[in-house]
C-alpha cells in the first residue's frame, strides 16, 4: 500500500542559514537535479541514505539536524 513518508526535513531552513544557498547550488553539490532537490525539500521524495549524508555534509551538521522521523506512541511512552 502506498503511504506518505513521515520523514521531515529542515533543508530549506539550513539553506537560508548558509548564506541563502540556492536550490540549484545545493542540488549541484549533492549531484541531483534542482527538481529532485525541490521534491526532497517538500517531502515528496525520500533520498537514499547516501544522499542524505551528502546533504548533511554540505551543511556540516549531523544527519538528525537535517532529517527527522517522528517517534511512535510506544517510543514516546
Amino acid at each position: 500500500m502506498v503511504k506518505p513518508t513521515q520523514v521531515t526535513n529542515r533543508i530549506r531552513a539550513l539553506r537560508f542559514a548558509h548564506d541563502e544557498m540556492t536550490q540549484a547550488e545545493l542540488a549541484d553539490r549533492i549531484g541531483v537535479t534542482r527538481q529532485t532537490l525541490i521534491a526532497i525539500e517538500q517531502g515528496r521524495y525520500s533520498p537514499s541514505l547516501e544522499m542524505a549524508f551528502r546533504i548533511a555534509r554540505v551543511f556540516g551538521v549531523p544527519l538528525d539536524d537535517v532529517f527527522q522521523y517522528p517517534a511512535s506512541p510506544e517510543e514516546k511512552a
Binding site: V2, P4, V32, T33, Q35, A39, G43, R44
Partner: protein, 142 residues
C-alpha cells in the same frame, strides 16, 4: 520540469496520438466491411515507425527550443523510470498471453496483431501516466 519528465510527456502524447490516428484510418477504411477484411499491416507498421520518429523529433525540437535546458538525469529520474516501466510491463504480458490464446483458438491475424499493438500502446500509456503522476506528486512508498 526535468528532461526525463519532458520525455515521459512526449512519449505519452505520441503513443496516444499515434494509436488514435491508426484507429481512425482503419475504421474509415472499413466502410461497412468486417474489420478483419480491412488492410491494416502497412498502416500499423507505418504508425509505429512514425510514432518513433515523432518522439525523436519532438525531443530534438525540445532541445532546440530550450537550448540551455539541463539534460541531467539523476537517481530519482532512474527510480521513476524503473517504476513506470514496471507498471507498464503488465500490459505487455497481457498482450502476449492474449495473442497466444487467440492464435491457439485460430483467431484472424487481424485481431492478434491488433491486440498486441493495443497492449503495447496501453503499456506505454500506463507507464507514461505513472511517470508523470509520480513526477508531479510524491514517490510511492510501500
Amino acid at each position: 520540469m526535468t528532461h526525463e519528465e519532458k520525455r515521459a510527456w512526449i512519449r505519452l502524447v505520441v503513443a496516444v496520438l499515434g494509436y488514435a490516428a491508426y484507429v481512425t484510418v482503419i475504421v474509415s477504411r472499413a466502410g461497412g466491411r468486417r474489420l478483419p477484411d480491412v488492410p491494416y499491416a502497412s498502416t500499423l507498421v507505418w504508425t509505429v515507425a512514425a510514432a518513433i520518429v515523432a518522439a525523436i523529433a519532438a525531443e530534438a525540437g525540445m532541445a532546440i527550443v530550450v537550448p540551455g535546458a539541463s539534460r541531467a538525469k539523476d537517481v530519482r529520474d532512474r527510480e521513476i523510470g524503473v517504476l513506470g516501466e514496471h507498471v507498464g510491463q503488465s500490459f505487455v504480458v497481457i498482450g502476449a498471453v492474449a495473442a497466444m490464446l487467440m492464435a491457439m483458438a485460430d483467431w484472424d491475424r487481424f485481431w492478434i496483431a491488433n491486440v498486441i499493438y493495443l497492449c503495447f500502446v496501453l503499456s506505454a500509456v500506463l507507464s507514461g501516466v505513472t511517470k508523470v503522476i509520480v513526477y508531479r506528486r510524491r514517490f510511492p512508498e510501500w
